[in-house]
Assembly symmetry: C2
Homo-oligomer: 473 residues x 2
Amino acid sequence: MLTYHFRNKKEGSLYDQLYAFLKEDILSGRLEADYRLPSRRAFARNLGISIVTVETAYEKLEAEGYIYSLPRKGFYVSRIDRSFVGAGEGAGEDPPVPFSDLDRKEDDRIVYDFASSSTLPELFPFTAWARIMRSVISDQSRELVERAPGGGIRSLREAIAAHLLEFRGMQASPGQIIVGAGTEYLYGLILQLLGRDRLYAVEDPGYSKIARIYRAGGTGVCHLPVDREGISVKALEERGADIVHISPAHHFPTGTVMPVSRRYELLGWACAREGRYIIEDDYDSELRMDGRPVPTLRSMDPADRVIYVNTFSKTLASTIRISYMVLPVKLAERFYRELGFYSCTVSSFQQYTLARFISSGGFGSHINRMRRYYRKVRDALLHEIQASPAFSGCRITEEEAGLHFLLETGTSLSDRELKERALDFGIRITCLSDYFLDPSDAPGGILLVSYSGIRPEEIPGAVGALGQVLSLQ
Amino acid sequence: MLTYHFRNKKEGSLYDQLYAFLKEDILSGRLEADYRLPSRRAFARNLGISIVTVETAYEKLEAEGYIYSLPRKGFYVSRIDRSFVGAGEGAGEDPPVPFSDLDRKEDDRIVYDFASSSTLPELFPFTAWARIMRSVISDQSRELVERAPGGGIRSLREAIAAHLLEFRGMQASPGQIIVGAGTEYLYGLILQLLGRDRLYAVEDPGYSKIARIYRAGGTGVCHLPVDREGISVKALEERGADIVHISPAHHFPTGTVMPVSRRYELLGWACAREGRYIIEDDYDSELRMDGRPVPTLRSMDPADRVIYVNTFSKTLASTIRISYMVLPVKLAERFYRELGFYSCTVSSFQQYTLARFISSGGFGSHINRMRRYYRKVRDALLHEIQASPAFSGCRITEEEAGLHFLLETGTSLSDRELKERALDFGIRITCLSDYFLDPSDAPGGILLVSYSGIRPEEIPGAVGALGQVLSLQ
């Protein structure tokens, strides 16, 4: 009779093991089609296990079609098409990809990371999120697998509209809100909506990924200088750009808040010609810690020329791929007409979870907690820097910034030397010049201190190490 | 003293209600900054509730920054920036979007849907999936919010590689597998990878969304005729296409399986010139019910010119937005070099869940269950049709098809009349001509009977109604 040797229970229950043994033997052909399996009783006795265990394994194999039963006769092996089982063994191995994102390794010298824009995993509101996920699993199992609107499920878009009103004082109808898997994906949709035969202007300095995405999307991109008030409208006119992508509430990396005068100048530019649009990237407005909240450009714009984009990556976690945009009515119409065939890229499960998290008030509370947490980290960091003589020649530019500030070091080192030396001291950091299209346009020796990746207990060590870097010159 | 009137407990616990009352009064300004809140004891007595309830509400408000405490003095209202609270009320309402995907309504005449490609919600393996989700929540909370590779998390890509070997006899290294939120998103990535200055060929007849996506992506698309063996290689040469998108294992909607000779002809075409690629859309290969499994084109191709694309939408649920592609080594290298900056569009949570579902064997069992289920539905449907005299003049073309077959009705009605009349009988159905670029190229009177949206108990009613439609002519 068939005999199998069970392994330690850690490798699976007896039932799991028996099921796997039989399945393997059926797939490999060792048990041929129509072979009659031992009776449950005899098999159980032979293997020294309970009849129920054999029964359960047989039932599962039958349910999955590996075996079949004849009334009052017993269980038999099904005829399985095995033409592909193990076929891979014969096929030539693919040559390995010389380099993939799975091989990437962090520089193991890094102890303190001032260059990360990721949120720390421990700040994610895991308990609340998991509780809501569980209740979505039990209450909404049906909706989770039913066809959902391409722009996102209704309850999430309504929750976002309510959130925008409460946190940004901005009106938007759920039909104007389009949910997508990350802002990168939404930029791609915007390109399809506005066309690739247009010139897109981005900020210089700025977040370089934005230009890369537009370029990969197949459109022309120009970099326009940013002065103390934001992007230059004059340059915008001169270059003949049609679309401009900006972050007026908080420019990255300088932290500049665009003043009202420049905002109106920009809105004037947008209205002056048909087809001009402003993409307002409000990426970290919710994490503002000081000063008055800055109104959105969109809420100042009666002409409806602003596409508002925001994300939950900063406020929740970068691996929660949920972002949204608010389209002008005219573009929303065009979206439904021309791009309405796309399915939403966010799974319904995540959408229902986030919708409940927002509408239950959990998201609002979480934002308040994050603000208080980051304010504490920033204050501790500034205090430590100001107390250390190594930083006596330094100047800090804050501009009510979000999760980073600029540190003018006055060093005589080149930016490259500065970053290399910092790495020797365990610090990863970037310089302002890293965000310029042409680094030689940038003033040297200015560090971008981004503290969303630094834990409070690391601050003394991190500042001490940075002080040593600066003292060495 | 402050007095609030509690509502029925159904509207929230006393603690929740007190928290909400106070928060509202603080946000509205009715309680001014630095106002001293009643002592816990006095407030509890006044409201007729327990001290603990007041304490808990105060603690939450303090944690969120609405109030602050002074040791041995009590609790005070924080200075809240209220400039945006309620600002929306003043702002002009956005005009509503005249039409959005939230307004869409199904035709309420539809009782039997033979035109849906969605899976039925009740077939989703909810219990197993929810169990895995729960274990991911408890075991992998850290990984869930940590930065993940752009192509997908390692364990999912390894699980997919193992699945491809087991179910499709195909070798692929995890570094060649790119995970994305739906095949529509992946087609967009392919466009960026191969370039928009290329001509993409699609099948005619075919799934019209594919051409729409390529066109929305900004590239030229040509429709090539499909004969009994698949897309015409001669037409491909003549039109000068560079890329061809096909489903060789199971053409939609005709169900044709591309024979080996045509496959080699196509591979020969791809190798004849640098930069030619074949996109192999293997959308429903796992749900094949009869006949020998058809090998993938990719596994026949030593020249590495095939981009293999597949999805979990058909096997799991259309709202699970997870698809993947297997890139040729050369394109994988290009992907990491040029598009490696993109973040993965699928949340880590869904990726970890699916990885475990596959590697635990749950996905394999699910596929087997689905195959058996759909075989039963199809057999019942065919049986019902063959037993009904209303279908005596009809011919069924199956070609070992996946979840649909063609029904030649021999009717004298036009396809438009046929569909309209079917709707009057509660049936939504499409005709073969709906999938032709030019419907007049198509033979008339051929229905596409897609049964993934029909429940077994609906079959007699659905076939009866369809019989009536056909008898009326």
